[in-house]
């Protein structure tokens, strides 16, 4: 057994939530730069120039890139040879979030009850934790800080298997079109296909947090990602929804086996600051 202290995880979470709120992830920054160079619409180009300037100011002056510093999502893959010590893993992750948001002067945006008592918890917790057990003796953390301007534009559909690829494409492109300027385009779009009603949504979230330099390892899904990206960028939504070639920076698809009767499709819309970071703890 390999022992890992939950305090080490707490400390990592504290650092990670701050890192991604002040610095664009490299993959997203590169995609934005490429889009800026290729944008043919003058207002769109101007907006992409300003986003670059925003990124520079955020890093240099340590001001969050966006005021919606998000709800924290943590995917934690725990190697089955790992023994966690020094306390509760759940408490350590939550404390890491609270410490990071306090220390970084990040906005606390979580309310304790969604319907009857929308009272701010004042420390941005609880975060959402998706644990999984994997082989090995290490822990992999993937953290996202999800803004809700784009989250609110996400959709899930239970398609019929006969709707197939055309149905998936229609669902994704319609979600992007409806999101329009509300989602702070250019967007990053995570698509979850398969599983069950709930699992498709988790896959979509996971897809938004995937390294955007990677395609789906399956060539058919990789091609679907590419086709959807090209079609989405013909919608003329453009940066901030004011028209242009750059509506979507990347579409990531994650798939899973499903039931003979089903074809769940979840589309998680994310903005031009898709804050994600992964680290391995050994």
């Amino acid at each position: 057994m390999k022992q890992i202290s939950v305090l080490k995880i707490q400390d990592k979470i504290r650092e990670m939530v701050q890192q991604i709120n002040f610095h664009y992830p490299k993959d997203i920054e590169d995609l934005l730069e490429k889009a800026r160079q290729n944008e043919s619409h003058s207002l769109g180009k101007e907006i992409l120039d300003l986003l670059k300037e925003n990124s520079r100011i955020a890093a240099e002056k340590r001001i969050p890139i966006c005021q919606d510093t998000g709800m924290v999502i943590v995917f934690i893959e725990i190697g089955q040879q790992v023994q966690l010590v020094d306390g509760s893993l759940n408490e350590a992750i939550q404390k890491g979030v609270a410490l990071g948001y306090e220390e970084g002067y990040l906005r606390k945006s979580i309310v304790s009850d969604p319907l009857f008592h929308r009272i701010n918890t004042q420390d941005n917790t609880p975060c959402i934790i998706y644990p999984s057990i994997v082989d090995g003796e290490q822990i992999k953390l993937t953290v996202g800080c999800k803004g809700f301007g784009s989250e609110n534009m996400s959709v899930i559909r239970m398609l019929k298997p006969a709707q197939s690829v055309a149905g998936v494409k229609e669902t994704v492109l319609q979600a992007i079109q409806n999101a329009g300027p509300n989602a702070c385009p250019p967007m990053v779009v995570g698509v979850g296909i398969g599983g069950s009603f709930d699992y498709a949504a988790v896959l979509a979230k996971k897809a938004t947090l995937r390294d955007c330099t990677l395609s789906n390892p399956d060539p058919e899904y990789a091609q679907l990602e590419q086709e959807l990206l090209e079609e989405a960028n013909r919608l003329n939504i453009g940066p901030q929804g004011l028209g242009g070639d750059t509506s979507v920076l990347k579409i990531n698809i994650e798939s899973a086996p499903t039931h003979i009767a089903g074809l769940p499709v979840a589309v998680n819309i994310s903005c031009h600051i898709t804050r994600h970071i992964s680290e391995v703890i050994e």
Partner: protein, 172 residues
């Protein structure tokens, strides 16, 4: 185009969807929770925290202000969530709101009826936009923290006319 606030109805009538503006003067922040409270105060005929006549409301919930800073990150939030309240506020004198994204037909009608306008600034550029805010003071609902009402003094705050006084929208 440089605009000195307050924005009068006469000036609004000269603006067109798509115009780029740089605002200087006073704007007030309010988002979801503050709008709810303002609407309740109006209903009870209480005195409001600021004069609505020709005022400009910025839909923003900034990050906390660190020591020695004027304001935190302060970009626009999605306007549509305020659409239930916006017609009432336009009818009571607000001449401009600043946010991002679509508005409902009811807001469009209120804008036309009141010779007002709807402005947008860049979503997700809160660091950049904060540089145009020269003074910030909390004037109401301090308990709401990020959702409190702040009085901002801005200089050359960059925005675009998303809907003009004639109801023309930059998104159509």
């Amino acid at each position: 185009m440089k605009i000195t606030l307050p924005l009068t109805k006469e000036t609004c009538m000269k603006l067109h969807a798509g115009d780029s503006l740089q605002l200087s003067g006073v704007i007030y922040t309010a988002r979801d929770a503050a709008h709810k409270r303002l609407a309740e105060m109006i209903e009870k005929k209480e005195k409001l925290p600021f004069d609505l006549e020709n005022s400009c409301i910025y839909y923003v919930g900034p990050t906390p202000t660190p020591p020695n800073a004027i304001v935190g990150s302060a970009g626009p939030t999605t306007s549509m969530r305020m659409d239930a309240y916006a017609p009432l506020l336009y009818d009571l004198g607000v001449s401009a709101t600043i946010g991002k994204g679509y508005r409902t037909p009811q807001v469009k009608e209120a804008i036309i009826r009141n010779h007002a306008c709807y402005l947008i600034c860049i979503g997700g550029a809160g660091a950049l936009l904060s540089q145009s805010i020269k003074k910030a003071e909390c004037i109401a609902f301090e308990d709401l923290k990020a959702e409190a009402i702040y009085r901002y003094e801005v200089e050359d705050f960059p925005c675009v006319v998303a809907m003009d006084a004639y109801g023309k929208s930059v998104y159509e």
